[in-house]
Symmetry: C2
Subunit: 365 residues, 2 copies
């Protein structure tokens, strides 16, 4: 479902990427407006916007679809302004990370469908925009009871045409869902890295002694404060509930440790293993069959190509592939997941024939 | 410093890997003992042990160095038994994940040096042993005040010969350090995945909607309960202190959210960004220069080889490289880190010339 005339209100990273992706997908004319004139100029330069509009109203004139891509703190005001200024035929959507407040602000309008592309880029600004940002991403859509079904179909088709997978969700459920899948993990990453960073142990710095678990668990720590302060505040109620539940679970663990309760710990770990398996089932058809190969490799160009070429030539399908750089002196560790013990053995033999040492182990233990 | 006669007490994954690595490093004769006769037989089969001993005493006869590789819960008893049974000339070390209790059990002996290789393999048993397990790994050594310096040098040289980097640490400081770098992250991973797994949101399963942050933060969830129950209990005191500190930090965040305190959140995120940068400085010489490239690729063999080959041919040095499998239908996302904007642009142009869409952004924001 091609949108012929698209208005983008806010031409930062997401807005400009919507423009680029829409123009790649179809014969779309894009008008753009951004209170930051430089940002708007960059979006035009990048080819994300055909026509820089001098005002919200000008951008909306003749548009079939308006995408509000303002910061979370300005979303409700911008969506209300867009609904007021847009012609009756124009459908309005947004791309904010929270949905309850913005949907409430638009309540009663059959022309609004809240949206949230889950694309997790850490960059900002039109200069980092890309037509590929939404490929393979989930794009939550939160229609209201009042939403016109035709308009919902328009937005559904539009986000699909950008390469994303639309998933319908109630606005409040959305915010609760992302409080668990995104906001709580981000908060814990910040809490963990700050606790490790605030501690010195007998001259040793925990951050300098970080192993794989601490590194993995703090990858999203310190993410862009100009985005995340707003998200945390806008979803404060759901996040507080998630944090309170988390705190109760921490206390439970502390009690079990205090009591030396091995049975509790064993059940708790087994529950975590089961939950992790359920999560992996979304990604892999047979998580129980997954095998992990670990290979220590020197830090020099060409090594990676040699390995992937050898595996590719033997048609070994790699599910996950990760190279962690240790240091130029110590080299790095390559971790690969393949399905099935036989396939793992085959990959291992191949790499050992190339002179690498390989450690193979089942993922699910 | 080659050890000519090595005794391994406990021939599971770590013990058998020590045997394999020692035999590869030098002309070492390895005797092994394990109360589990099958495990011992497997270690002999794998070539990790030259001589299966019928008892602890028999394994220790004539040994220069004894490596106690028993489960954490049995460590203190096994180390005490080894010190008693070993000839005077024999130095004793262990490979347990906690150090205070085992060092206390050996207190007064000039012949004991506690050890902990940080190699994070999820596998168990001699069948998964590998001579490469310790390559590039940190190996903590916790000498006692009474430790004979000659013996410390022996163990230091031995673990270096296995490919590991020895790091000296006080036993108590070690346990505090790993409570922050490993045990707290593992605990939070379990807590987080169990909280997400226990919640249903309006028909949606948070685990099924997991984004990158939740997936990264629960990678170590559900790790082997037969190992981790013992570790959590043995280091319960330090872990409880870390959890209590964590809980205080969670409460602080809840208060800030309750008060709508944007200033607190901004400072807290900035602190996390600084701490993350300090952590990355251990791995990368110029973390501020790191650029992230994201490429959406189809799920089929050969794609990875094509990409790494093209980058290798242009001598682009990839610092980190990660392929996350989404699904056979939707393909996956490849994430690469390179140093410098120019290098990132060069890599991006190369991939775009191959028909891939690339999103480039600085890592540190």
């Amino acid at each position: 479902m091609a949108v012929r005339r698209l208005a983008i209100l806010g031409t930062g990273l997401i807005g400009a990427s919507v423009g680029l992706a829409a123009k790649r997908a179809g014969d779309t004319h894009v008008t753009g407006y951004d209170p930051d004139g430089e940002m708007l100029a960059t979006a035009v330069e990048r080819g994300a916007v055909d026509e820089a509009a001098p005002s919200l109203e000008a951008a909306l004139a003749g548009a079939e679809l308006a995408v509000v891509a303002a910061p979370v703190a300005q979303l409700t005001a911008q969506v209300a302004a867009a609904l007021q200024a847009a012609p009756e035929a124009c459908t309005v959507t947004d791309v904010g990370s929270t949905k309850e407040s913005v949907c409430a602000a638009a309540a009663g309008s059959p022309r609004f469908i809240g949206g949230h592309p889950v694309c997790g880029s850490e960059a900002r600004g039109a200069e980092h925009a890309s037509a590929n940002l939404f490929e393979g991403a989930t794009w939550f859509l939160a229609p209201l009871p009042e939403t016109d079904p035709e308009r919902y179909r328009l937005v559904h088709g539009f986000v699909s045409s950008l390469g994303a997978t639309p998933v319908a969700v109630d606005p409040r459920a959305h915010d609760r869902l992302v409080s668990l899948t995104s906001h709580l993990p981000h908060a814990l990453a910040n809490l963990l890295v700050n606790q490790a960073g605030a501690t010195r142990v007998d001259g040793h710095e925990p951050l300098a002694a970080a192993g794989g678990s601490l590194r993995d668990m703090t990858r999203v720590a310190g993410a862009n404060p100009r985005i995340w302060v707003d998200i945390f505040l806008d979803n404060a109620e759901e996040l507080r509930a998630a944090l309170a539940d988390h705190r109760r679970r921490v206390e439970q663990l502390e009690s079990a440790l205090d009591a030396g309760d091995a049975g509790f710990l064993a059940r708790w770990i087994a529950e975590a293993a089961g939950n992790r398996r359920r999560m992996l089932e979304q990604e892999f058809t047979e998580p129980g069959e997954l095998q992990r190969l670990r290979v220590h490799i020197p830090d020099r160009p060409g090594v990676l190509a040699g390995i992937t070429q050898a595996l590719g030539a033997e048609r070994i399908n790699i599910e996950d592939f990760e190279l962690r750089h240790f240091s130029p002196e110590r080299g790095g560790v390559l971790t690969m997941l393949v399905t099935g013990e036989g396939e793992a053995r085959r990959a291992g033999d191949l790499l050992e024939a190339q002179g690498y040492g390989v450690v193979i182990a089942p993922v699910m233990g």
